[in-house]
């Protein structure tokens, strides 16, 4: 039985504030849209922080029943440690990307309104609202709607520049996402037919390993991994993410794929019965391992910076799937370690990858191209960007001290403790390969400029946004693990 907790109104605010800001920006338009979006995103960060603080302090999830109706008829918003941590990450990344976008998406002097700027400042709060819906939703059908909102806003941001080269890859992305959400909805329908509710907390007590639950689980998992671009359904991601403008790629790679990840965790560790998780988790982790190895090797061979970073997303998403068999097989302590490791990987990857995509965008804007072989001189013109890019890379590699190190170390320990040592080989070799492609870029950027290379300086404010994100991903590794107890609140 869920009841509204005293601070439950914070959850409503986290959802309605960005949605309201989006509508207001849509009506106000022009320069007002920018002000409204920036103000709303700053406030949203405060709300996300307040929610995290409440969950950490109270040690119990927050909940809000919409209209006071009890599930199964009513719908609940819930914030456990996972939601709070992801919400906070989303708020930090969104605010940094919004500040980054102030220069490229400013309404020029003299113009009333430009299409790209107007769309950018309307869709940023829209993305915040869809993320809040995906992280806080306590009902599988609500989560379906959140997933669709995420897809639509992400697509609009990806097509922001309106370049012809983008449309085909973004259309492919949309089609993959649509197949994914229809499969998810089909599974949700089957679950409702079998159990009479879609409320996650109620389903947790009702599901058995019977045919409808298994078929529904398989359909929903297939739909979600199509949206997360898990190997072998990853082919749409690199062109779609690399073709988008820098600010949009950072959001797509850092946050949008994480929405589907949170749904997958809810489905597997709350809804599906334990024996299914134990057996199916190994399959997911095997696909994740393939994604790590193949994604990293393909990234190593890329000629273009943004495609390289996009393939690195495919590889880093693979790490998230390693937690499934570790969580299912271990004792309580190991399971909690694997859980923390997986969530930490999602958070640190969001921060690091957003920094790297913004950095790659700045480098491309300055040099006028993004060929890895011809990056020479970049470090001279924009040392801060290159340093931030390298720091993001350190976090992806899992070198201490960084958030990525904490995540990979916890997963490594859990894999040894559960006797599933083969995953640790994957984690370690993935780290080496990541080191390889990060080194390629940094070495190229440090090389002396090629003759005739004209690098334009980039705005310092944008560089600082990139640096802030990269620093956040590093600093995450300096937080003592016991203080990350937030993530464990309400964990399965």
């Amino acid at each position: 039985m869920t009841a509204t907790t005293p601070e439950g109104w914070l959850l409503v605010l986290a959802l309605t504030l960005p949605a309201g800001a989006m509508l207001l920006a849509f009506v106000a338009g022009g320069r007002h849209a920018q002000r409204i979006a920036l103000g709303a995103l700053a406030l949203w960060l405060v709300i996300a922080f307040a929610i995290a603080l409440q969950v950490q302090r109270g040690g119990a999830p927050l909940a809000y029943l919409i209209g006071g109706w009890q599930p199964p008829l009513g719908m609940a918003l819930r914030a456990d440690g996972l939601s709070a941590a992801m919400l906070l990450t989303g708020a930090v990344v969104l605010l940094a990307v919004a500040l980054f976008g102030r220069a490229p998406y400013a309404t020029p002097r003299g113009a009333q309104e430009t299409r790209a700027a107007y769309a950018y400042w309307c869709f940023l709060p829209a993305l915040a609202a869809s993320l809040a819906a995906a992280f806080l939703g306590g009902d599988l059908f609500n989560l379906f709607v959140a997933l669709e909102m995420l897809t639509f806003t992400a697509l609009a941001l990806a097509c922001l520049d309106g370049k012809p080269s983008q449309f085909k890859s973004e259309l492919r992305y949309l089609l993959f996402a649509l197949i994914g959400s229809v499969l998810y909805l089909l599974g949700a329908g089957l679950l409702y037919g079998a159990h009479g509710t879609l409320d996650i907390a109620l389903l947790a007590g009702r599901t058995r390993a019977d045919a409808p639950t298994l078929v529904a689980g398989a359909l929903m998992t297939a739909g979600l991994i199509a949206k997360m671009a898990l190997f072998p359904l990853h082919l749409w991601l690199p062109p779609a993410h690399a073709g988008a403008p820098a600010a949009a790629s950072a959001l797509l790679s850092g946050l949008v794929v994480k929405g589907a990840f949170v749904l997958l965790l809810r489905l597997w560790f709350w809804v599906l019965p334990a024996p299914v998780v134990l057996n199916g988790g190994t399959l997911l982790a095997a696909l994740g391992a393939a994604a790590i190895l193949i994604g990293s090797v393909v990234a190593l061979r890329q000629e273009r910076l943004k495609l390289l970073v996009a393939y690195s997303t495919v590889a880093q998403m693979g790490y998230l799937f390693l937690m499934f068999p570790l969580l299912a097989a271990g004792d309580a302590e190991t399971a909690s370690r694997a859980w923390l490791g997986g969530v930490l990987q999602a958070v640190s990857h969001a921060l690091a990858k957003a920094a790297m995509f913004l950095g790659a965008g700045l480098i491309a804007a300055s040099l006028g191209h993004d060929r890895v072989a011809a990056l020479g001189g970049a470090a001279r013109v924009m040392p801060i960007t290159v340093i931030a890019f390298a720091m993001g890379g350190l976090s992806l590699m899992g070198l201490p001290p960084s958030g990525g190190f904490g995540a990979k170390w916890l997963l490594l320990r859990a894999s040894v403790e559960t006797g599933q040592w083969w995953w640790s080989l994957v984690i370690l070799s993935g780290g080496l390969l990541t080191g390889g492609y990060v080194y390629r870029i940094v070495a190229a950027a440090l090389a002396p400029p090629a003759p005739g290379c004209e690098a334009r300086p980039v705005p310092r404010a944008q560089e600082l946004c990139v640096l802030a994100l990269a620093l956040a991903s590093i600093l995450l590794g300096l937080v003592p693990l016991k203080d990350l107890g937030l993530v464990r609140v309400g964990a399965p």
Binding site: P72, L73, P104, F141, F144, V145, E148, T151, F152, L155, C159, D161, K163, P164, S165, Q166, F167, K168, S169, E170, L171, R172, L174, L175, L178, I179, S181, V182, L185, L186, G189, L190, Y192, G193, A194, H195, G196, T197, P239, A242, G243, A244, P245, A246, R304, K306, L307, G361, L362, A364, A365, L367, G368, H369, D370
Partner: protein, 110 residues
């Protein structure tokens, strides 16, 4: 075989046809139609669940119908978005297909 069973089988058929079309067809317009067939199958399945009222233990359950209405709105929005993108793609390239790999963009994307 009752009427509900026939509807359930029809839903399965629609889902199968839609899924096949989405995967096998290269023309985007056909893919979008297939997506709508697939969606129709899923919504029909919700209707069957509503008629049976199985999980909720009722003679007939109105909740799935409420979900279908939301689902229809979402599917409509998705179709509209996909059509607009397809139209732009057709205007630019003169063909609406996602069949072959697009050539790598030569201009930097910033």
């Amino acid at each position: 075989m009752t009427g509900t069973d026939i509807l359930a089988l029809a839903a399965c058929g629609l889902v199968a046809i839609g899924l096949y079309g989405l995967v096998a067809q290269a023309e985007v317009l056909r893919k979008i139609i297939a997506f709508n067939l697939l969606g129709a199958g899923v919504f029909l399945l919700f209707g069957v669940v509503a008629r049976r009222g199985a999980g909720a233990g009722l003679a007939a359950d109105p909740v799935p119908q409420a979900m279908v209405i939301t689902g229809l709105v979402v599917a409509f929005a998705a179709t509209a978005l996909a059509l607009v993108l397809t139209l732009r793609l057709y205007q630019i390239t003169g063909a609406a297909t996602v069949a072959e790999d697009p050539p790598e963009p030569t201009a930097p994307d910033s």
